[in-house]
Structures are given as C-alpha cells and as structure tokens.
Symmetry: C2
Subunit: 265 residues, 2 copies
C-alpha cells in the first residue's frame, strides 16, 4: 500500500533493485492481477510475501452479512496460502450501523476467529489481529490496543492467532511496551509494521500516515522493544498517504528504504 501507484511487476522489480527482500501484499491488487499469477511473479523474482492484508470485518449482527464475512475470510486464507505467506492480517471491523455495543462487537470477532482459525491452520496460515488506533474504533476496528488484541488472540493457539504490532496504532499507549513483551513471550507477534505519526490529520484520518522519521514516533525504540521480545520476522512499512501516492512510486520506495535504515537500523 505504501506504493500502490506501482503495478505488481513494477513493485517486484523495484524491490529487487533496492535489495528489499519481501513485500506485504493487499488483496485487491492481487485479485486484479490474478492470485496464481501474482504468486508466480513474486516467487520467480525470489521475493518473500511477508503478509497478506486483509481479512476481518467480523462484527456484523446481520446473519447473512456474518456468513458472507466468514466466506470472504476463508477466501482470503486460500489467497494467502496461494501467495506463499503464512500470515493473514485482520482488520477486525467496527460497530454495525446503529450499534453502540463495542464489547459485543469484540465478542463477535472472537466468535469468528473460533471458526476461522482452525480453517486457516489447515492451510498453513496464521491469523494476525491488528489493533487499530482508537480513532478507528467506531468504523473500522473495535480492537484498539495491543493488550485487547492479545486478550482475544490468547483464546487460541499461537500457531493459529497472533497480533500485528504497528507503531502507528500503538505508539501513544503506555501499556503497549508490556504488551509487546507479552506477545513476544507467547510467540504471537505475527507481523511488525512501521509508520510515523504526523499532524494535522487529514479529513477521514485514514491516509495521514507519516513517512518514517517525519513524525512523533520513536521508531528505533519500538524496533528495539520488538527485537527484545524475540521477534525475528520481517518488518513492513505501511504508509497510507495521499502525498506519497501522488509521487513517483519507485522514488517513494527508495526514500522509504533509506528512511527505514536511517530511523530503525
């Protein structure tokens, strides 16, 4: 998503040129290109697919919608397996229209995981609950903290359900460092993502993530904490940013790689 202006072949080529060893993919561009074809492209380039984004949206109270959501998540699991990644990232879903019941939404997420997690494991895929910043609690994700995400994940085996540590969503939380350690000790850090926090936020607040180093987050400190928690997996940079998307994609990818080295290594 950081460089969604690039086609999959352009992205693959640019990663190879920069020495970026893996890429996190999103379902929509993969589906548009063809899942098998995308898998072949990335595999033949020698790149790793680090994660597939995203499943989730598991909070519907309407029975048909709930069934459709489960079916869609099963499809996402199969896509992840086809792409050769072991991790499907979940954005769990917010409040159904008219609802004010956040605890109820969180329970439906857990209920859905009880159905989906064994299915995913059969396909060699782990589900990764991504807590989203509390500003998304109503409309996108009722799971707002890493502690909450772990509370749900720990109802299941670590091989089935873990969490995403994304600096953008958790940087403000004084309890997140302890949650990172807890997640690491349990083998539940299934993905580690970086983005910086910049203000003012844009309308809708979705596409205001900052380039690494431009904002308020001590990225190196978070990297060190995740390291100390025993995480040795890939580190993704995920920037939703209209200004970055308006620029040349290869240039943005190159800048991002340099920022990554400068601010986290």
């Amino acid at each position: 998503m950081t460089v969604k202006q690039l086609s999959l072949p352009e992205l693959t080529e640019a990663c190879l040129g920069l020495g970026v060893p893996g890429i996190g993919l999103w379902r929509e561009p993969v589906q548009a290109y063809g899942v098998e074809r995308a898998a072949k492209l990335v595999r033949e380039a020698g790149l790793t697919v680090t994660t597939l984004c995203r499943g989730g949206f598991l909070t519907a109270t309407d029975a048909d919608e709930w069934t459709r959501a489960l079916d869609d998540n099963r499809a996402a699991v199969v896509e992840a397996a086809t792409l050769g990644t072991d991790t499907l990232v979940l954005v769990s879903g917010g409040l159904p229209p008219g609802s004010r019941d956040l605890p109820g939404a969180r329970e439906r997420i857990a209920d859905a995981l009880g159905i989906l997690a064994p299915y995913a494991q059969e396909h060699g895929v782990r589900l990764a609950i991504e807590p989203l910043h509390p500003m998304f609690a109503a409309d996108r994700c009722a799971v707002s903290t890493l502690t909450q995400a772990l509370d749900i994940a720990e109802r299941f085996p670590a091989e089935q359900v873990g969490v995403v540590v994304d600096t953008y969503h958790i940087w403000w939380d004084d309890q997140a460092p302890a949650a990172v350690a807890r997640a690491g000790a349990g083998g539940r850090i299934h993905s580690f993502q970086l983005a910086d926090w910049v203000t003012p936020l844009p309308a809708g607040v979705l596409n205001g993530r900052g380039q690494l180093g431009d904002g308020a987050i001590d990225l190196r400190a978070w990297r060190e904490q995740v390291d100390a928690a025993g995480y040795t997996g890939p580190i993704e940079v995920e920037l939703f940013n209209d200004a970055l998307w308006a620029r040349d994609g290869v240039e943005v990818l190159s800048e991002t790689a340099m920022r990554y080295v400068r601010h986290t290594v």
Copy 2:
C-alpha cells in the same frame, strides 16, 4: 464551547430560559468580557460556573516556555477562583517540537502539578487532568487514557488533583470503566463531560464532536457508570463542532438540552 457563537449575556439568558443550572466557561471569552464582570453576570443570574477550561500545556522543555506556562496556569487558577468555580480543567500538552519522548512529556506534567496543585488549593481550586483521545497525543495531550490521568493525579491529594471523565475521549477504552470506578472511589472525578463520537472525522480532528445521540457512544451507560462511582457533580456537554457553531446558538443550546435528557437521563 458548545455554543461559542453566543455572547456571555446571551448564554446566561438562554441557560435561564431552558432551566440549565450551570455553565462551564472558557478562558478566552471570559477574558475578553472581563473576568470580574463575567463572574458578576453569572452570579447575579443565579447560575453556577461548573468548571473553567483550560489550564495545562505543561510539557515545554524550554525553560522560559516552562516558566511562562506555569505563570499562565497560576493566572487561570485565579480566574477560576474569581468566577467562583472550584475546578480548573487541564489539557496537559503534547510533545514539544522535534521531541519523540512521550514518557518525558508525562513526567514534566507531573512536575508542573507539583508546583501548581498547592497554589490552586490555596485559592480553593482543584486541578482536573483531562485525558484526551489518543489521536491528540502528539500535539495536544500526552495523557491519553483515564488510567494514565489517574496514575498522575494520585501522586497528589484528591482535594488538589483529580480527573475529567469525558465520554468523547475514553469511550473506546475497555479499561476506562474500571478507571471510572477507581476515580470515583478516590474522590477524583472532578468533572464529567459528554460528547458523542461521529465519523468521518474532519481535517485536524478537533471540531468533529457529535451532538448527543448522533454517534457511537452509549452515553447512558457511561452516565450510569459515573453515577455508580459516586459522582454527584454537574454534567457538562462539550461539543466542538463547526456545523453546530454555524447554527443559531439558542436553538443549539435547546437541542442539546433535549438530547441530554433523551440520551442520558
């Protein structure tokens, strides 16, 4: 602030007409009108000043700025005492320019309270730390949860420092109900404020608070929790909302009073 389009005399008259028994005031309009004069106006109308907003911004690393902030807060304490309210609300301040040290900012807030709290008590004023929604952590308030606010407040006597419970800022937090109970048990709920959560958020996210009943927050449940915690003080409605400010102020005040009754009583 809910009806900042009204002058202080208009506001006072409208409150009397609706049977609203008290008003929370902001420093800027009070200063523009004259603090003594505002105090007299409200007192003679028989209204209570529930709180004064706001002191705070206590996170400067620059020594001169820090001194100026303390002086400004002492002035706010005197203004609160003059207005006859016992509560000064604090918006604690975010990160200083270029800083990425949130824990450091929180410690400076606590340091400042150590100086200001006894001064406030001498003037019959309690300081109320308002945790702001985590989306304001960088630029407005490094205190993002009620638990954090309490952790700081509890370093001081309850007569000196307490917290503000504002539904808009804490509604997403699964740990906030326990913090409400803890704050109540300690006699530290110094203010209770209502606003609803509506999406999409506007650019800058400051002026997007929803009219009561328009959004995602179960306001009655929060009111019941604050009641159960033993709070018997005034309840304020604080809506920063460009659309409400563009309308007739008396109409907005009347609507707000009706919404208050409908959604919380």
